[in-house]
Structure formats: structure tokens, C-alpha cells
Symmetry: C2
Subunit: 457 residues, 2 copies
């Protein structure tokens, strides 16, 4: 291994670090909440501008929802990589649990805190810092690098499958670096090869034209009760999803997947400490807990009905709302799951529950024996000095499916996170040291890929 | 019947009407939300002051929660009445559904709109107007009238049983006029003789120290699911309350109760129209719907967990909260019900659900054949020119139990409401014509009682 390359890249990243962190503050300072349509156009423009500041060509490409920022570094030689990221973030609420303003980067010890700093704005800035470092150290970046930075990841990337299909020539590449990644609780680098799919639904019940005094509860229909009972039918008493046909298209993991899972370090105790719990659900632990990523989930993400203030209010709620995300595995189809949930509720006598499809995407994974995966593992080992952890599939979701199946690229992650980044939650953060290491990993991966292509031609 | 007395009282009420409505605006304008502790002391002072403006002696009597306003008119002869009312109101939310500011009286057509105007501030002002009218027309009010106006009715009158016990000599009377009442959909006067009890509980679940990304839903415990499943055990699939021992102390209605129920006009269609529904729950209608007031209820008054905003947020809620009021019948004891719900949840494996007792009171009713009830019916028939409807028990609750069982007084209602007053809901209102008629009924009832006592001595 050329340890000198790693050292030089590290020095370049360090030299540019204050600029990177300043750009990160600028980007986090621009809210971009896709689910609420807050700040999206301004954020897209800012990202396109950041790309240009780093000598990439960039432009916005419209979609039926938010624009995709497309940026490109045109290499002089064959070979190209596509990098997937997103500029949208989760809503900041509950606001009262933040220790600092969510849309402002606050430095606390070695951490930077702000909404979207880990998911995924830290990765956008890290990619730009990595490309800078490669060009500074190699004097040139001979391969082409394509950045596709979308605005709808947090709402299940509604138009990305069609977008990738339509722009498959523009996005064509040999391999792909995905958002997310970083280190585990012990500092070992984590590389992810697959993501679950998702089907996000909202349930609404309206039982009356207005709320009523609860003294009439022996006669008038309570929307909260209807929704509690309707949700109750979605799982059996043991907690298994009870929607007819839900598992029809669910594939079992391969032997190779299960082998990789069995090699994962046991993180149970770290997870317990991180979430303040004493056990996982369903008595899972160890390998069984890790294998459970191949079990689809039905998660109540929110429930709202009636009086939620202090003390007592005696009211029969006339409306109730719940949100639910199902995490899916190959080959479950989110729109099919949506239809099956509707049929299930109808059959169980809850045809009055209105179900709205808020978005979905399919699961996808890359073969762990791809050369691109091996290169990502080798470079991670070199950067972090620890044996990488390879997840054949993680619990979260992203639009990997069109990249894997339309573009046909193998996908690895390279990232700046850790298990305590609190993504999607108050006080989302990254550690500056992990920003540096993640950037170095991306830079080394890109540099080695470019050198390999150059040597091959 | 002395129709002249009614005519004279009516003229006096009309003469004073603008003053009454102006006082009503003043009282509604002072928020007094007992469940949130908003404006309570100022409201108590204002009520005491209003009583003095009408020549009653008045003072605040402290309780462990909010003060009781006690007012008295000292008659020169034996005989005394006690009038029960309350100065606290329900919270105004959901605020966005109000068409005018809740704590400001707005006049729309023949209606006055504002929080608490029907429940119960309209009644407080109506009582004062009625007493004024009696004194003006009779030249004197020979019996004693005691006003007990409490501040915790909307939080289940936490200390009223002890208060009545402690002040039983002060409050001693021959009979009682209770808050609420008015007319039904067809304009017939309604007299209520009994109220259900209540047990108000809050359920809280915390499964983790913080919310988590829903990609971990195959491992991490979801508080919303826990609470949905816990609540689900409280009713069986047919919707009947499934808490062991819940019905142990529940008495059946008497034959006389059921006879009165069978004489009630069928209001099903009016209720359907009022709430925009096509049927009641459990297939109830007609007599069966009216008899259902003797069925205790378990009402979800509110449910809150996780993300409740627009669009999608993929989070595992670490906490969930629900509020529930049980309406009770004689002889159920709210504290006993609380203990039984706790035991039930424990037994069903939901010992992690924290249950908080927010308040309770016992059901109580007056014998329909009491002379005081007959007098209330006769005077209502005279005032409204229609046959009164007598409810032996209504679905709502109030602290009738200590009045019936500690003071031993027979109780009737006399009031200014109608079925469209929207109490506890946005745009709470009264009709001015019903204010006048309800005030006239109270005045005639008091005057006839005083004349009867004077004749007897």
C-alpha cells in the first residue's frame, strides 16, 4: 500500500478543514425540510453554488417534486464514479429537546450540532473536501466524478426511480459511493452494501363533523378508539405483522449475507446504553438481533388525536391521525404493500380509515464480492487502522434500487457518522474527527480507483 | 297558576337583560382554565365581586386547589336553597377551529359565542339575574339562597366532597338548583336529576431515553405501539370494557328510571344531524340509546406520540401519552376503578404504562318523585309552554354525590343551554332567548319555593 498517498491526502484535508466546516455551517444554516416544503429551492441553489466553488460544473434538474442538483468533474480519461447524496433534512421537531438552534451549527467539545449535519449535509461537504484533496495531491483527477444530490430522500425519494431511468446516460458510471457510513461504537469503519425499502403511510379517521363532550361516549363514535383498534389489527398478539400477503414477495437472505451478519461485532450493549434500554424487542440479541434486519417492520412514527395539553379535557375526538413506515426487504414492492394494508383494513371492518401513500422505495443490495466492495474495504482498513465492518443490509432506506437495477452500479458507503449522531432526532451531530476520517476514506477510495483505471488503460 | 308572577318576572329579566349580557362578556373575558391553572384567582375575585354587585354577601373559601366562591342572600324567614355552579372552563384548543376569539363574547345572529358561556358562566350570570327579578317583583326574597361556585368542575372537582363535608352547616339547605339544563332540539325544557361519575386517567409510556431512526424498528421498542396495544386490551373485540371487576359495583337502573327513559322523546335524528353521523355506536337507537346512559364508558380523550406534522418523518417515538375518561354509574368508585385499570394493565403485561389519576367523582341522582322535582317540572311547563323532559341520569358528570349524600338535598337543573351549545368544543355558545327562558325558570322556581315556604310557616 502507498501509505504516502494517505498521508498526503490527510494533510490536504486538514489544510482545508476550516473552509469545509465554514461551508458546512452555511449549508446547515439553510433549512431544507422536504416534508414541509421549507427552504428547498434556496438549498438547491446553495448546493449548486458550493459545487461550482469547488470547480465542478453544476446545474439544477427539475423533477415533479424538488430539483436534483447535478454536479460533474470531467476527467481526462475513461472511468467514472457516481456519488449519491441529498440536501433535504428531517423536520427539527420536537424543538424543545434541542440544546441549540437546529438550523445553526453549534460546536460542543469535538462535536458539531445541527439539523442535517450527519444526514446528509456533512456528507455533501465531505465529498467536496475529498475531491479537493485528491486533485491537490495527485495534481489531477483523471476519472469523471458525478454528484447527484437530490431533495426528496427524507420523503422516500418519490421521483428518483423515474429520474434515474430518464437520465441513465448522464448518470452512467462504473461504481457508486453512497451517503451515510462512518464508524461503529468501537471506532471500526462501517461499510454498507444494502438498504431496506420503505412504504410510508398516513392513516386518517373522521367519525363526526366535530368533537363532542365525552358524556356522550356511550353513543358517539370516538376517532381515537377507531384508529387504536385499526392499528391493533396490523400486528398479531406476538407482534408479527398480520397483513395478509405482506411477506409474499419477501426473499430470504443468502448464505453469504448471513455469513457477513455472523461476522459483525456484537453491539447490543452499546445500543442498550445509547437508547437507555435493557433489551431489544421480541427477546432478540446477538446474531439474532443482527439478522432481524431481514425482518420487515411496521413502525408507528406518530399518532395524534384529541386533547394533548396539561391536565384533563373531557372530549370525544372526531378525528385521529397516525403515520406508519414499513421497512421492506427484497423483493417487496411498496405500492403493493400499500394496497395490501388497504385491503386488510377493509377486511377487518376499518374501511372508514383513510390511507394515504406518502412515499416508498424498494430494497436493494450490492454483492459483497464485487471488486468495488473489496477496494472500499481495503481503503477503509488503511484509513481507520481497524478491520472494517461490512453490513450486507442496514435497517434504513434510500433509493439504492434504481442505482443497482437501472444503472447497474455496485454501491458502497463512505461516511462521517457514528452511532451517536442522533439523525432524525434532536441534537443531530457529527464528530469533527469522524468528518476528517470519512473524508479521507472517500478521497483514498476515489484516488485508488482513479489510479487503478489509469493503470488499466 | 299565578301567570301574573311569570309575566312580571319576565319583564324584570328583560329590563335587566343588557346589564346581564354585559356582565357575561366581562366574565367570559376573564380566562379561567382549571386544567392549566390559567386566570383562576382573577376569575374567582371577579365572580365574588359580581355577587356583591347583586347585593349578596360573598367571599372566597380556599381549598387545596382553587378557591370556592361562596355567596349568600340572607332571607328573613326559614327555608334555604343552595345553587351549585362553577367558574372554571375547558381549555380553548383546538384554537384554529374557533371563528372568533374564545375569551371574548361575540354576538352572531341570536347567539353569544365564547369559551365557557354555556358551561358554566352563562348560568352564573343567569342565577344573579333570576334573583334580581324575584326581589324586584316580590319586593323581597324571604328565603335564604346560597351560591357555591367552585373552580375545579372541569378537572373533576377534586376537593369538593371534602369541602362539602367540612362546610355542611354553611351549605345546609332544603333543596338544590344545579348548573346545566335548558331546552332540547324541539324547544322542550330539560330537567336533569342525576349525573354519571367520572374517573380521569393519563397513560404515559417511555420506552427509550430518546427517539430513534425508524430503520432500527426491528430492535428498538416503540412507545406508540406499546400504548396502542395497552389501550387495545381495555376493550374486548365487541367494544365492551374488559377491565376485570369494572362492573362489580355498577347498579342497574330502577324501574322508575327506565319508565322515565322510555318517556323521553326520540332525539336520534337530531343527534345524527348535529354530529354529522348516520348511526350511534354498537347499533344503538331509540330507547336502547337512551338507556345506554346506564352503561359506563371508557373514552380516549387524547393521544399523542411521535411526529404529528405534515408529510413523513421516520422516527421511533420513545414516549407516548393518552388521556382517558371513564363515565361511571352508581355505585362505582373512581379510585377503585383507577386501581382496577392499573391491575389490569399489570396483568396484561403492560406494567411499563404509567397511570396517573387526574381526578374522579361518583355518580348520584335524585328521586324523581321528590316534591322539589315536581315543582321544577311545573314551573318549567309554565315558562316554556311545553311538556318538560326529565332525565333521571345524563351522560356528563359533576360533583352531585356530596350534595345528594352529604347535604341530603334533592337536586334539579335549570339552565340556559340547548343541544347545539358546543360545550367543551370550539365556538361554544348560547342563544339569548334560551338565556332569558332559563333565567325565568330559575326565577319562577325560586319565587314559588319562597312563597310556598312563607305560606307553610
Amino acid at each position: 500500500m502507498d501509505g504516502e498517498l494517505r498521508t498526503q491526502l490527510m494533510k490536504a484535508i486538514d489544510r482545508n478543514l476550516e473552509r469545509s466546516l465554514s461551508e458546512l455551517s452555511e449549508l446547515v444554516g439553510q433549512p431544507s425540510i422536504s416534508s414541509q416544503g421549507v427552504g428547498m429551492d434556496a438549498a438547491a441553489e446553495l448546493v449548486a453554488d458550493l459545487l461550482r466553488r469547488h470547480d465542478l460544473s453544476s446545474r439544477l434538474i427539475e423533477t415533479p417534486s424538488y430539483p436534483v442538483v447535478y454536479g460533474e468533474w470531467k476527467g481526462g480519461r475513461p472511468g467514472s464514479l457516481v456519488l449519491y447524496n441529498h440536501y433535504d433534512v428531517q423536520p427539527a421537531d420536537p424543538l424543545d429537546l434541542w440544546n441549540s438552534p437546529p438550523f445553526e451549527v453549534t460546536r460542543v467539545d469535538g462535536k458539531l450540532v445541527g439539523r442535517g449535519i450527519a444526514d446528509d449535509k456533512g456528507h455533501i461537504i465531505s465529498r467536496l473536501a475529498a475531491l479537493d484533496a485528491v486533485r491537490e495531491v495527485l495534481g489531477d483527477l483523471p476519472c469523471t466524478v458525478k454528484l447527484m444530490i437530490e431533495g426528496g430522500e427524507e420523503i422516500s425519494s418519490p421521483h428518483i426511480p423515474e429520474f434515474v431511468q430518464e437520465h441513465r446516460d448522464l448518470l452512467a458510471a462504473d461504481a457508486c459511493i453512497w451517503e451515510t457510513g462512518g464508524v461503529d461504537f468501537s471506532g471500526r469503519p462501517v461499510i454498507t452494501l444494502g438498504m431496506r425499502g420503505i412504504c410510508y403511510l398516513q392513516y386518517d379517521v373522521r367519525t363526526m363533523s366535530r368533537d363532542a363532550h365525552s358524556g356522550m361516549a356511550h353513543l358517539l363514535p370516538n376517532a381515537a378508539w377507531r384508529l387504536v383498534q385499526a392499528l391493533g389489527t396490523l400486528k398479531d398478539p406476538e407482534g408479527h405483522i398480520a397483513v395478509e400477503g405482506f411477506f409474499d414477495d419477501a426473499l430470504k437472505p443468502t448464505e453469504r449475507d448471513l455469513q457477513l451478519i455472523s461476522e459483525l461485532p456484537n453491539a447490543d450493549e452499546d445500543m442498550y446504553a445509547s437508547y437507555g434500554i435493557s433489551e431489544f424487542i421480541n427477546g432478540l440479541s446477538g446474531d439474532a438481533a443482527e439478522r432481524a434486519v431481514y425482518s420487515p417492520t411496521a413502525n408507528i412514527a406518530g399518532f395524534s388525536s384529541g386533547y394533548q395539553g396539561a391536565g384533563a379535557k373531557t372530549v370525544i375526538p372526531s378525528s385521529a391521525m397516525a403515520k406508519m413506515d414499513f421497512r421492506l426487504i427484497p423483493d417487496q414492492d411498496p405500492e403493493d404493500i400499500y394496497r395490501k394494508v388497504c385491503s386488510h383494513l377493509e377486511r377487518e371492518g376499518f374501511g372508514d380509515v383513510e390511507v394515504t401513500y406518502l412515499g416508498g422505495e424498494r430494497a436493494a443490495a450490492t454483492d459483497p464480492d464485487e471488486p468495488w466492495v473489496r477496494l472500499a474495504i481495503e481503503t477503509a482498513r488503511e484509513v481507520y487502522g481497524k478491520e472494517p465492518i461490512v453490513w450486507p443490509m442496514i435497517g434504513g432506506s434510500g433509493p439504492m434500487h434504481p442505482f443497482r437495477h437501472t444503472l447497474g452500479v455496485p454501491i458502497v458507503t463512505s461516511g462521517v457518522g457514528d452511532p451517536e449522531t442522533l439523525i432524525h432526532a434532536p441534537n443531530e451531530n457529527i464528530r469533527i474527527e469522524n468528518f476528517v476520517l470519512g473524508t479521507l476514506h472517500t478521497a483514498l477510495l476515489v484516488a485508488r480507483y482513479a489510479q487503478g483505471r489509469a493503470a488499466a488503460t
